[in-house]
């Protein structure tokens, strides 16, 4: 019996990632119990941290015996739980057998022990609610994680010591699976928190650029939107590998592309006239300053490339490094085009915004000169679709 269960479990464990699927392990265990121990019904109550109670999770058995999942709870002060956790009486052992409880109630030794009698009565009533003949606890260290409830055996037999040791094995397998699942949930919750925190930090950075450079206001958000739309089309054209990471990095890089402007004097950033050659030189330092700001953040390797090279040009006439064509990282080319398009279609004190069509014509004219051809094509796909 135990060996066939073991084999069954191993087979299933091989087929799945145990850590994510406590429910599958629990179902397997309950199926095994009902089939191999031949009980009328079996169910498990699992501790729910939010409700601070044990909730009926999975149950198998005949109609009326089966405890509907989520329908019933057992509070922490219930005698069945207390039996395992408080162990107030010497008769509290490693499992509960209803027959033993009945015997104890009738026993001469406990006849005058009012407290024991009261406890045993409560126990009997609660066992009867679930028509349980045996309860087996599942502990993780000292924490009671769940309780197995077993109904009567089909042939009316008692549970043997061998049955009970087998059930303890099953209960600890369930506990391990649940513990793993809880751990996994906690981890993914932590990852979500970190991700949110990260994006909030990035937003704070963006606000600090926008506070300084009034032309940047709204620009960052638009550049990000254009860049993500271009990426979507690149994906459709099959020109992206590792898409999820590329898109995450692109989002961050688009948000941070002008972070280096923090290091540029305000009177140059906000100058209402056309810039002198010297001033332009200062402004053109912003990609390198941005790269420097992000230099020590290992996780942002790709993002840094996007920030550093978003003013490079295909023909090698860009800055800061004068890279040519394929030398320019794709992430930087995408941001570069999104940035240029938004700049062209926005008013500046010294020139009026181009119309959308004029800007698109300008981009087409500069395909292969300023802009990477594949990125221009993806951009045109996006514009065409947006025009529909």
């Amino acid at each position: 019996m135990e060996s066939s269960y073991r084999k069954g479990l191993e087979k299933i464990a091989r087929q799945m990632i145990l850590i994510h699927r406590a429910d599958i392990v629990i179902k397997l265990v309950l199926r095994t119990i009902v089939r191999d121990l031949k009980v009328r019904h079996a169910g498990i109550f699992i501790y729910d941290k939010e409700r601070e109670a044990y909730i009926a999770k999975v149950s198998r058995g005949n109609a009326g015996f089966k405890i509907p999942s989520g329908f019933v709870k057992i509070k922490k002060d219930n005698p069945i739980i207390n039996y395992f956790t408080a162990k107030r009486f010497p008769f509290c052992g490693d499992y509960i057998l209803t027959d033993t409880v009945e015997k104890l109630i009738r026993s001469v030794k406990l006849k005058n022990d009012a407290k024991a009698q009261e406890f045993l009565d409560g126990l009997r009533v609660n066992l009867d609610f679930y028509q349980a003949r045996a309860c087996v606890p599942g502990f993780f260290r000292k924490e009671l994680v769940g309780v197995l409830f077993l109904g009567e055996k089909n042939n009316g037999d008692q549970f043997s010591p061998k049955d009970l040791s087998f059930l303890s094995t099953l209960a600890s397998d369930i506990v391990m699976a649940i513990k793993n699942a809880w751990l996994f949930e906690d981890l993914s919750r932590q990852v979500d928190v970190n991700k949110r925190l990260f994006l909030q930090m990035i937003s704070a950075f963006v606000s600090s650029i926008e506070a300084k450079d009034k032309y940047t206001r709204g620009h960052t958000e638009r550049v990000m939107a254009y860049a993500l739309n271009i990426a979507e089309k690149l994906k459709k054209r099959g020109e992206l590998s590792n898409r999820a990471k590329f898109v995450d990095d692109l989002r961050t890089a688009a948000l941070l592309h002008d972070i280096g402007k923090i290091g540029i004097p305000e009177h140059i950033l906000n100058k209402p006239d056309v810039l002198s050659a010297e001033e332009r030189g200062v402004i053109q330092e912003h990609p390198a300053i941005g790269e420097n700001i992000l230099k020590n953040v290992d996780e942002l390797d790709m993002v840094r490339l996007g920030v550093k090279f978003h003013h490079e040009r295909c023909d090698g006439l860009g800055y800061p490094s004068g890279l040519h064509g394929e030398e320019i990282p794709l992430i930087a080319s995408v941001i570069g085009l999104a940035d240029a398009y938004d700049a062209m279609t926005s008013d500046r004190p010294y020139r009026r915004a181009l119309s959308r069509d004029e800007a698109i014509a300008e981009i087409k004219r500069n395909k292969g000169k300023q802009f990477a051809p594949s990125v221009v094509d993806a951009f045109l796909d996006y514009i065409q679709e947006a025009n529909k």
């Binding site: 989520g70 329908f71 019933v72 709870k73 057992i74 219930n78 009533v125 609660n126 609610f129």
Partner: protein, 121 residues
């Protein structure tokens, strides 16, 4: 006198579980899977008491409650509610529900309500 209780829930397993719980206390049980059937059964069988799920498909628990009370103003209705059904609970009380019990149920509490409203009358 034998008591008769109507159990109304759209989940068959819950109805079956409640039925067995009540039968073992010597209570006879009639069952309904939705509000319309509950109303029909109430007319025919005249139960003393009803366990009524507040969230039913189609005619909801409150509307069913109102109709049951029209058929038999003395009928004792105990609503079975979810955790966040606070506004429903108020509506149910206004519509004449005697009491409610919240899912997931503590069977000691259910047992006590059965004693109070059905067995000790």
């Amino acid at each position: 006198m034998s008591r008769k209780v109507l159990v109304v829930d759209d989940e068959q397993e819950i109805v079956d579980f409640m039925e067995r719980f009540l039968i073992r206390k010597g209570i006879s049980v009639v069952k309904a899977g939705n509000g319309d059937i509950a109303v029909e059964i109430c007319k025919k069988e005249m139960p003393d008491c009803v366990f009524l799920d507040i969230q039913l498909p189609g005619k909801d628990g409150i509307d069913t409650l109102i109709e049951l009370k029209q058929i038999n103003p003395l009928i004792k209705v105990i609503m079975i509610t979810g955790k966040d059904d606070l506004s429903f609970k108020e509506k149910a009380a206004q519509a004449g529900a005697l009491d409610y019990i919240t899912k997931p149920l503590d069977l000691s509490e259910l047992n006590q309500k059965i004693q109070t409203y059905i067995l000790n009358v």
